[in-house]
Subunit: 395 residues, 2 copies
């Protein structure tokens, strides 16, 4: 058992050859006992077969005991055959682990519209089962990476009255310059014992405060899935209000770390815009503004180029649909005010700003002067590496 | 007087040096008599000073007699000084042409947040006035080009009962790979005599069917303006129903030609996606789908790379917010069906498709099976040329 997995969980991985990667492309997590399940899924109408099946498990059972993850094929837009294949992968795992198929949560990432390669699945299964207990958090994470530049995982121990519990988060995808259908898969494991409603509720809040506030390209994948398994193997229950709060804070912190890793993923050229909107009529309006700025191609390319073209940011604010008086709007780039209550700021700070724009992290502060609403959002820039990676992803 | 301008209009241009272009950057149109004005403006909250002033003229007077156009500075986000400068440019033209300042429509494009260079304006004014009558439609159009690869203009004669009338359309901007704040400026001139309400109404319909259906990057500029001046100098009135219809059809055809030129503007690598959505619940839903596909970074980069990654298109359909049953959705790329009623099409046409994807015009047909709503939309791809041009636009 590895230290970076909570008690009662074992991880394995195998190279099935789904995409001729020369590396693991199939990963498995098994819990020694049934785990309480929390989950959130993509809002895309075309959700993939594994998303449908995980959603069924969440609603019909509320517990699960294993996660099977593959890269190479997303098993989305694959029709009835996609479901048949997905259920087959559940059975393959179930048969060899003495679980019911409905205890096995499938997650997939890769090319859309391609069927799972069932012969390769069958061939890889013995090695995958054999490998259980030989992989740590990083090893499992690597098995479902696609174009990720590095594996994304994080672990914390939480000290509660009843003893220590562990939380481990493992995720892939939505790298800064390599969105690969922007699919984001994330598995959260804990050995704490926690009630189903409480687990799902805190899960929803933690995801809203973290993963839902990062963006690479604004595309919502067919496969986005976040699973949380709480197996109680630590023997420590989280139920008192202050302990639930402490546990949720740690969960949010871990998801925040990992979601930042997603948007940070890149190969040197990429930058992260940290967009802070204040003074909006309400939080929803602040969110509109932040997302509009974070998704603007013209803002993204200017930030990529280190161009202090703040007018593009103001433009995105202007078409966001939020309510405000343009004469009350101010904007700072890297802490240097460029637009003050509807007027451009003319000073000698252009050169200093040009230097600051070479940083990897770019702060954008927008004040609307319309109320107390605020929203923070992280978004990646848009550069040549993004185009190169995405212009020819399938080939 | 040039043949490609309607009767009673003269055009001029001058090199003021607003952006050290070594070419004309200031253009002027003057009509011999007051013209009935129709106009449409950007929806951006931060609309530029010239947009505010043109809107005032439209509402307070409904007629105008001149258009002054500059590139280099957009005069947007320039506060009170921006208004003072803009009104000064109206007066400069008015004084030298015996017009009232309120008869002069200002349009600007260029960097946001920069003030107009009033000394250069004053210095260029004599040459600009002197040049009136020496430029044709192309000459005027060139004066307010920014990163456009070619000038965009078109002319038609319409034969009516009372005689011939002319329609000339001159536009800049929103080039395929070089959106330059995506600003689109367009001036439509006609020597027909037409009523104010009829002119504005047909103008609105024609723009909705043309300019509002093309996209480069989804950013809505602070300066987008379309002006229509009808001076009646032909002595031919357009008022009968069938003649109004004929005239409007020609207007729509011309705007369609010019809006296609906008999205076609590029330097070899660019492609145009022709997105056709059918079978939506209503036209509004079809529009949602078409715009979502046309704005998806992942779709745009795949088309740029000639990658038959149709799953990205289905994904964009899926998060568009339109209402439909995913099992009824079909999709064709370049006329080859890839997705049929929720199932992938497996055949041997991949190679043929790869060849077709090398074309400059890419047809995307999406059928939702939810009703009779439809929408057509043109959008550009996203490639290295876009990034290069936009990463360092200001410098």
């Amino acid at each position: 058992m590895f230290d970076d997995l909570p008690k009662g969980f074992r991880a394995g991985a195998a190279e099935a050859g789904f995409k001729k990667l020369g590396r693991d492309d199939l990963g498995l997590i098994v819990s020694d006992c049934p785990a309480v399940l929390a989950a959130l899924f993509t809002q895309n109408v075309f959700c993939a077969a594994p998303v449908h099946i995980c959603r069924e498990i969440l609603h019909n059972y509320g517990t699960a005991q294993a996660v099977i993850a593959n890269s190479g094929q997303a098993n989305a837009c694959t029709g009835e055959q996609g479901f048949v294949n997905c259920r087959m992968t559940q059975r393959m795992v179930a048969e060899r682990t003495c679980l019911t198929p409905e205890a096995v949560l499938p997650i997939s990432t890769g090319v859309i519209g391609a069927q799972l390669k069932m012969d390769l699945w069958a061939a890889a299964m013995p090695a995958l089962i054999e490998s259980l207990g030989t992989r740590d958090a990083e090893g499992f994470t690597r098995a479902f990476m696609t174009t990720d530049a590095f594996p994304k995982f994080a672990m914390r121990e939480v000290s509660l009255e009843g003893g220590l519990v562990r939380l481990t988060v493992m995720a892939k995808g939505a790298g800064m310059i390599c969105p690969n259908m922007a699919t984001m898969l994330c598995v959260v494991l804990t050995d704490a014992a926690i009630g189903r409603e409480q687990w799902q509720a805190m899960f929803g809040r933690a995801v809203e405060a973290t993963f839902n506030r990062v963006s690479v390209d604004g595309d919502t994948s067919t496969n986005d899935t976040i699973l949380g398994l709480a197996n109680g193997a630590s023997g420590v229950a989280v139920s008192k209000r202050d302990e639930l709060e402490k546990f949720e804070n740690t969960l949010t912190e871990l998801l925040s770390m990992v979601s930042h890793m997603l948007v940070m993923d890149g190969e040197g050229a990429g930058k992260v815009m940290h967009i802070h909107v204040h003074g909006a009529m309400d939080d929803a309006d602040a969110r509109l503004v932040a997302r509009c700025v974070g998704h603007s191609q013209l803002v993204k390319t200017a930030i990529y180029g280190g161009d202090a073209n703040w007018g593009r940011i103001v433009t995105a604010v202007g078409y966001s649909g939020a309510h405000f008086n343009p004469d009350e709007v101010s904007l700072s780039l890297c802490g240097i005010e460029r637009f003050h209550k509807g007027q451009p700021v003319n000073d000698d700070k252009e050169e200093a700003l040009d230097m600051l724009l070479k940083d990897k992290d770019i702060q954008i502060d927008i004040t609307l002067g319309a109320g107390r609403g605020s929203y923070d959002f992280q978004a990646s820039d848009l550069g040549h590496e993004y185009v190169s990676l995405n212009a020819d992803y399938r080939s």
